[in-house]
């Protein structure tokens, strides 16, 4: 009995930070309809700022005021971010808001690296709460007990704020009907800023509170984000009791997982999540979320047409010139072009999913990295030749997409986005913890192409054929009945269903198709590099693809590969600088606020103006 109680207590203590971050995320989403992907970054900032303050402020009083001040400081930073960036994108579609928050993630990461350095910071112990208490013979840290007491207090204070104050009434009213609140003369701008600041302050508070347990490091933003998404999905977006319930559930499951199944803690959490989702698609205490307009901005796009003959001839000529690159380009140019082509196919596959099906996936790297690992594992463990591995990579990724799509497509809109991200992170952790089989963090190395394809020029041509072929196939699918059916489901799903289209099955097929194409890109990547590491499955890789699609322009047919080419070439150049994430983040924010139509869209608008 004792050990089990101790486990439950540890779970309850761990739930504290999780609840604060999740409730902040929920609150912000309720009022502003923005899923704040940078919420993990505010949590990280809270930890770092709290740590610095604890170095300065002495004693017990200093410790607790440092935590409080960290929360307030992060709230202020949140208000600044809201006023400077988010205010400009409230009217934009969800994807743009999400990309804007990615920009914030990148900037915060580099700023934290600049200010606090790359080493992990050990959190100071809480004065007066250093020891353990014996409960039923089991040692329980005193600080854990403090956290168990503090979390419900914070939850109660939040509840009182929401139900008893004028601010709370406005928050609840805005959550139900934002337009009506505006029509009644409430100043929405300050309501939004206030809510965003409050949500960020909660995240900061959570970050500072967990310092004695976990310290501060530069990975904590993504680590907490995955758990928070799981909590929000399980508890139901916008429900504070749901957030608390799910935080406790997930933390307790996590603690028991560490004891009984140490290899698969995250997997266990996911089993719980999938079970809840099957039973209640909108979370334990959540309500149905109307899926927003995805990936669209401004007026609906013009009907698409296959390119005319002049364009086709032009493209064919350009492709011939590109294919002949080994004849006139340097060795470095050939290798860079190989990388760019692979990345273009990856980006084009996500662009298809986003543009045609209107499905915003935040975990597309699962299929890119999944294809890469499938190929590498086949070569390593089954001795498969390159040709077979390249055939099975897209098939494996497609199968993976079939499975993930089955679960993720039960939800829609923001829930779908969060689920895809969570699944990608699950895959990443499985590979990371995969030991000798997957090579763990050491990756799999020495996976080279077959002898005939080994020269860079030949491998370039192989990549060229497969990637250009893949991109053309994705493009053609948009003109085929499949593309029309997908756009019908995207434009107006009820009308599509009333015409006999099985919307979910269509989306599932698109998800699988895009996943297979990303898997092909991943397979090629392995042989181009000769190795694969878990970072091909990271959240950051999924973000790269999203940023690219967005950079190229969602509402254009060419946005995917154009953005991919510009991005890959740009990153090759950018990563030579130490603080390249900061630069990339600023570029992203610049595009979000200044040129939201992306490269292709902006070029097209410019061309239309020139012609007039």
């Amino acid at each position: 009995m004792g050990p089990i109680l101790a486990q439950i207590l540890t779970g309850l203590a761990n739930a504290g930070a999780l609840f604060m971050v999740a409730s902040g995320l929920s609150l912000i989403f309720g009022v502003t309809r923005i899923v704040n992907f940078a919420h993990g970054s505010f949590y990280m900032l809270g930890a770092y700022i709290g740590w610095t303050l604890m170095q300065v402020l002495p004693g017990s009083f200093g410790f607790w005021s440092a935590i409080l001040l960290a929360g307030i400081a992060v709230g202020a930073i949140g208000a600044f971010v809201e006023i400077v960036i988010l205010r400009r994108v409230y009217a934009a579609p969800e994807l743009f808001q999400l990309v804007a928050t990615f920009g914030v993630i990148l900037i915060v990461q580099d700023l934290a690296l600049m200010i606090w350095g790359p080493q992990d910071l050990l959190g100071p112990r809480a004065p007066g709460l250093r020891g353990v208490v014996r409960i039923l013979g089991e040692p329980v840290p005193k600080y854990d007990l403090a956290l168990i007491a503090i979390t419900p207090l914070v939850a109660l204070a939040l509840w009182a704020l929401i139900t008893r104050t004028r601010f709370g009434i406005l928050v609840r009213a805005a959550t139900q009907d934002r337009e009506m609140v505006g029509a009644l003369g409430v100043n929405q701008r300050w309501l939004f800023t206030g809510t965003f600041a409050l949500g960020c302050a909660l995240a900061g508070l959570g970050g500072a509170l967990q310092l004695p347990k976990g310290g501060a490091d530069l990975l904590m933003d993504f680590t907490i984000l995955t758990s928070v998404f799981v909590v929000v999905v399980v508890g139901g977006m916008g429900s504070l009791p749901g957030a608390y319930l799910a935080s406790v559930l997930i933390s307790v499951v996590g603690v028991f997982g560490v004891t009984f199944l140490p290899q698969s803690t995250l997997a266990l959490t996911f089993v719980v999540m999938v079970a809840v989702l099957m039973w209640r698609p909108f979370g334990l205490l959540g309500r149905e979320e109307v899926a927003g307009e995805m990936g669209q901005v401004g007026p609906p796009e013009d009907p698409i047409r296959p390119a005319g003959w002049p364009v086709r001839v032009g493209v064919a000529l350009a492709l011939v010139v590109l294919a002949a690159l080994p004849l006139y380009g340097s060795g470095f140019a050939v290798i860079l072009a190989t990388d760019i082509l692979i990345f273009c196919l990856f980006a084009a596959s996500l662009h298809f999913l986003l543009g045609q099906a209107g499905l915003v996936s935040f975990g597309h790297a699962a299929f890119y990295g999944g294809g890469a690992y499938a190929a590498a594992l086949l070569v390593r463990h089954a001795g498969a030749p390159m040709e077979l591995a390249l055939l099975l990579a897209p098939l494996s990724a497609g199968l993976l997409a079939l499975g993930i799509g089955f679960v993720a497509l039960r939800a829609s809109g923001v829930y779908f986005a969060m689920l895809t991200l969570a699944f990608a992170q699950l895959l990443w952790s499985l590979v990371w913890q995969g030991g000798a089989f997957t090579g763990g963090s050491d990756g799999l190395v020495g996976i080279w192409p077959a002898r005939w394809a080994d020269p860079n020029a030949i491998f370039y041509l192989l990549t060229f054929a497969l990637c250009v072929g893949g991109i053309l196939m994705l493009r053609h699918a948009a003109h085929a009945p499949f593309g029309y059916a997908l756009r019908a489901a995207r434009d107006n799903a009820p009308r599509a269903a009333a015409s006999g289209l099985d919307v979910r099955r269509l989306q599932w097929a698109a998800f699988t198709f895009a996943g297979a194409m990303a898997g092909l890109a991943g397979g090629l990547f392995v042989f181009a590099k000769g190795s694969v590491f878990p970072n091909e499955l990271e959240i950051a890789r999924s973000f790269d693809a999203l940023i690219v699609v967005f950079l190229g322009g969602v509402k254009t047919l060419s946005g995917g590969w154009v953005g991919g080419a510009v991005f890959e070439a740009g990153v090759d150049w950018l990563t030579r600088f130490e603080y390249w994430r900061l630069t990339l983040g600023l570029v992203v924010l610049f595009i979000v606020t200044i040129a939201p139509q992306g490269i292709v869209g902006t070029a097209r608008a410019f061309w239309a103006r020139v012609q007039r």
Binding site: P481, Y484, N492, R495, A496, A497, S499, G500, L501, A509
Partner: protein, 256 residues
């Protein structure tokens, strides 16, 4: 002859609200019937249950002799029920003709094909349908730029592309000009006569109802309170009460 549509004791409750409460009726092939009732009577909820968009709490729906309760919308559409929406549903990113072509493709069940160019498929059939609803001259315009009345007609063409045996229309003429209303309803009833298609429509415009429906059903607070020919319904005391309140001029309903 057995009924084409047989609705038995269909109910849908939202908490204490009985949106549809024990509704039963039959439609024979070729019927043109109106479903009227004040706002909130449960007309749209009833339609949603017939299409499988909302699950009933209890009751059964039989179509062509087979039970369709609980089937998904796409399945029910395959059986031969089509519908138009109160808030007009079209696909804004396509041209007018492509909207109808896509509906034809959906009817074909060819929607997973990635080989042919879709814009060459069903073009003639789409043009014929657009001609039927009077939109032939706008075939190549983007659907997004159409006027509201034209969108209503486009949606009718989309629904007809599915060759439904039963067409449900939720306020088919709302927001249209008076002459357009008559045109649209005459087109629909003509097709019904020619092809044997059955029609069930809701409508607030009583002129449209009494001019085009063979029989009328009246729904109030979730329950059917009257059913009969337009004349019978017009003369029904309860219907007058629901629509006009007690003690008003009986002639008023005719003019409503």
């Amino acid at each position: 002859m057995s009924a084409l549509l047989d609705v038995r004791d269909l109910s849908r409750h939202y908490g204490a609200l009985r949106a549809v409460d024990g509704v039963s009726f039959e439609l024979a092939a070729g019927d043109v019937r109106a479903l009227i009732g004040p706002n909130g009577a449960g007309k749209s909820t009833l339609f949603k249950m017939l299409m499988g968009e909302t699950r009933p709490n209890s009751g059964e729906v039989y179509f062509g002799g087979a039970r369709i309760t609980g089937l998904r919308p796409a399945r029910i559409v395959r059986r031969g029920i089509g519908r138009t929406f109160q808030i007009t549903g079209t696909w804004a990113s396509m041209s007018v003709a492509e909207n109808v072509q896509t509906a034809c493709l959906a009817h074909d069940g060819r929607t997973l094909s990635i080989l042919p160019y879709a814009r060459h498929l069903h073009r003639e059939r789409a043009e014929a349908l657009l001609d039927t609803v009077g939109l032939a001259d706008q075939a190549d315009r983007p659907a997004a730029v159409l006027a509201y009345g034209d969108l209503k007609r486009l949606e009718l063409a989309i629904a007809l592309a599915g060759e439904p045996r039963l067409l449900l229309m939720d306020e088919p003429t709302a927001g249209m000009a008076a002459t357009e209303r008559t045109d649209l309803m005459e087109t629909v009833t003509r097709i019904a006569r020619e092809t044997g298609m059955t029609i069930l429509f809701t409508e607030h415009d009583m002129d449209v109802v009494f001019a085009h429906a063979e029989r009328v059903m009246v729904l109030d607070r979730g329950a059917l309170i009257a059913e009969g020919t337009p004349e019978e319904v017009r003369a029904d005391a309860r219907v007058r009460e629901v629509y006009l309140g007690v003690g008003l001029d009986p002639e008023a309903l005719a003019d409503a």
